[in-house]
Amino acid sequence: MVQSVVSGLLAGGAYALIGVCIVLVFRMVRVVNFAQAATGAMGAYVAILLFGSGWSYMPAGLAGMVAGVAIGWLCGLVMSQWFSESSTVARSTVAIAMLIALLTLGFRFFGTTARKIPEIRPGSTVNVLGVNVGVSTIITVVGAIVLAFLISLFLDRTTLGIRMRALSERPHAAELLGVPAKRLAVFVWAFAGAISTAGMLLIAPSRQSDFASLGLIVLPSIAAASLGLFRSLGLAVLGGLLIGMIEGGVQNFSSIAPYSDAVPLVFIAVVLMWSQRGEVWDASR
């Protein structure tokens, strides 16, 4: 049982990393970015294709990150150009449209052929509580934690970070004070694109890696982000790791194992009900 839970950390790390991106984009740009994982998957596939045509790991990976940044940048441009005045719901719907577009393009370009997926330090594992955990898993989990910490630090302590918070909380006032709204928004999208590409490159070798499967990792990641109600980076990391470990643990019970894909949904439901408990209990008093 413990082993199944520990080995769920690979998926958990992925959800945590993408979850951090989701929270960042939500806080800074007021949109639930449904296309986050698909953006990363696009970047990762560029790296995979280059690796397949002979490039070595690092150059292919970097080229992939550039692609991820470009796609993030493009999405950010579309969002801030035409939808900067729209509600969060409208903007999130646009993000869903972006997800569908990316999934369609991904299927068109990359098809269903199996490819050799590049891996960082293939074969290296560390034994954690009886499970041989891959180096990529460790990097993903540690990376998510460190990233959440660094971003929080950045937003609280640096001038640019404070400007960005001003932008997200009081966009009009910030613009009047000379904060370059559009540029910062697009920067956030591009940054999230880079991180999600890195995340995809880390986890793709160890799980089913067709484009659609990778793109739909966004759903458990959104569930992870919901733990902190899309506001806390640290809780998004915790949420991601929890979901991964619960999914791993569920595999031990053959009666519920077929429903392991429903864990994120149950997670969101529990989080939401718990967060609304004050109101429900007040109303019943």
């Binding site: 690979l10 199996a114 070798p205 890696s209 499967s213």
Partner: protein
């Protein structure tokens, strides 16, 4: 020319000509759109359709691609008795409602004379009855759900998931003499119905039981966790049926968790030309079932198939083989029809088709014929990755001989 009078008379003449032309064309045109007229030099295209899971949660475009490749080559060589084949593969995205809608469209609007080469994962239970009611027949490429093999109007060319699994289990326990056979199968919704009967045939004919068995794998399942259980159960052979992209992570997880000495056996959809490259060294020694004469061999009967697939830019896969064969079967059947090619005459020809020699591409002849169940292909060969390439590893395993 100028002047209103002149214009009016030209207009009048024009109108009259148009009217006459319309009457003549109407008289010459066929009464139903799409069906051929019975003139001896008919060159109108023969319409053949397919409903397939080309995209969707489990995309399998290979079948219709393979059939398309056959029809392309056939059309280039002149078509069927001088008539081109107009192949219409439609994508049902594994959505049952869409599947039903598309079949109706093919039969009622496009007036296809038959269906061929399709690989729908949800279609058979949904449109089996409709096919019977409309009197149209389907030479399916890849069938997976049990209903595809128990429908009066459908006869697939492939072996299907159930017999594939049984064959893999039989090969593991009877030929490879593995003592602890295990199975980690994917949760594929309607296809899950194939697992219990597949297991039952193996258990009954060998008297053995699986050491570890799960049918809950999905794209998100943690494969390391599964491999830990496989190792704990002491498995020495593992049957699994993931997609081609699931092969590498599964093998990686096995290696990472130290499940050495485990022989892995994949199912037919993973037998593709590109799989060995994607799994690298970890794939050495891995087996797969092959539902047709393995395309990685050099038997002469596959030359045309390989050429057609190559010409159409389609990857060599077992699913592509099934679509190609379905296209060949329907084309040869139509070639033999004397008189009009309609859905009725094609249906009659298929009902008479009790033995079609596939020239060794399948173990036994294909058949349609009357009856409420059609499952002509129940034999597989095993292939294995050796030195980074697939090689044929066994002769035909006839699953029907074990299912008595």
């Amino acid at each position: 020319m100028s002047g209103k009078l002149a214009t009016r008379s030209y207009a009048g003449a024009g109108l009259l000509t148009a009217l006459v032309a319309a009457v003549v064309l109407a008289a010459c045109g066929s009464s139903d759109s799409g069906t051929s007229t019975s003139t001896s030099a008919d060159t109108s295209p023969i319409k053949i359709g397919a409903v397939s899971a080309i995209t969707g949660p489990i995309p399998i475009p290979d079948g219709t691609n393979g059939a398309g490749a056959y029809f392309d080559a056939l059309n280039k060589a002149g078509g069927i008795n001088g008539r081109q084949v107009d192949y219409m593969p439609l994508d049902d995205k594994s959505d049952p409602a869409l599947s039903a809608q598309l079949v109706r469209r093919l039969v009622e609007q496009e007036n296809v004379v038959a269906l061929a080469g399709g690989e729908s994962l949800v279609g058979c239970p949904v449109f089996g009855g409709y096919l019977k009611k409309s009197g149209i027949y389907d030479v399916m490429g890849g069938a997976a759900t049990p209903q595809c093999f128990t429908s009066s109007n459908i006869s697939p060319t492939n072996v299907g998931l159930q017999d594939d699994v049984t064959a893999g289990l039989i090969y593991a326990s009877e030929t490879l003499k593995k003592q602890k056979v295990c199975a980690a199968m994917y949760n594929l919704g309607p296809l899950n119905a194939s697992y219990p009967p597949a297991l039952a045939v193996w258990e009954k004919s060998t008297g053995k039981k699986l050491a570890y068995y799960t049918t809950s794998l999905t794209a998100n399942t943690d494969l390391n966790g599964i491999m830990l259980k496989v190792k704990d159960a002491g498995c020495d052979a593992l049957i699994s049926n993931g997609s081609t992209q699931a092969a590498a992570p599964l093998l990686k997880a096995a290696a990472a968790q130290g499940a050495t000495g485990l022989t892995q056996i994949f199912m037919g959809q993973e037998y593709t030309a590109g799989l060995p490259a994607s799994v690298g060294k970890l794939g050495e020694g891995v087996y797969s079932t092959a539902e047709f004469e393995p395309f990685t061999g050099d038997t002469a009967n596959l030359t045309q198939m390989k050429a057609d697939l190559k010409a159409a830019g389609v990857e060599l896969t077992a699913l592509g083989q099934s679509g190609w064969l379905a296209a060949k079967i329907i084309s040869d059947t139509i070639k033999g029809i004397k008189g009009e090619v309609t859905k009725e005459s094609v249906g009659a020809a298929l009902l008479k088709l009790t033995s079609y020699d596939t020239n060794g591409i399948t173990a036994k002849p294909y058949s349609f014929g009357p009856g409420n169940a059609h499952h002509p292909n129940r034999s597989v060969k095993m292939v294995q990755i050796k030195n980074g390439k697939w090689v044929t590893a066994s002769d035909w395993i006839h699953v029907d001989e074990y299912d008595k």
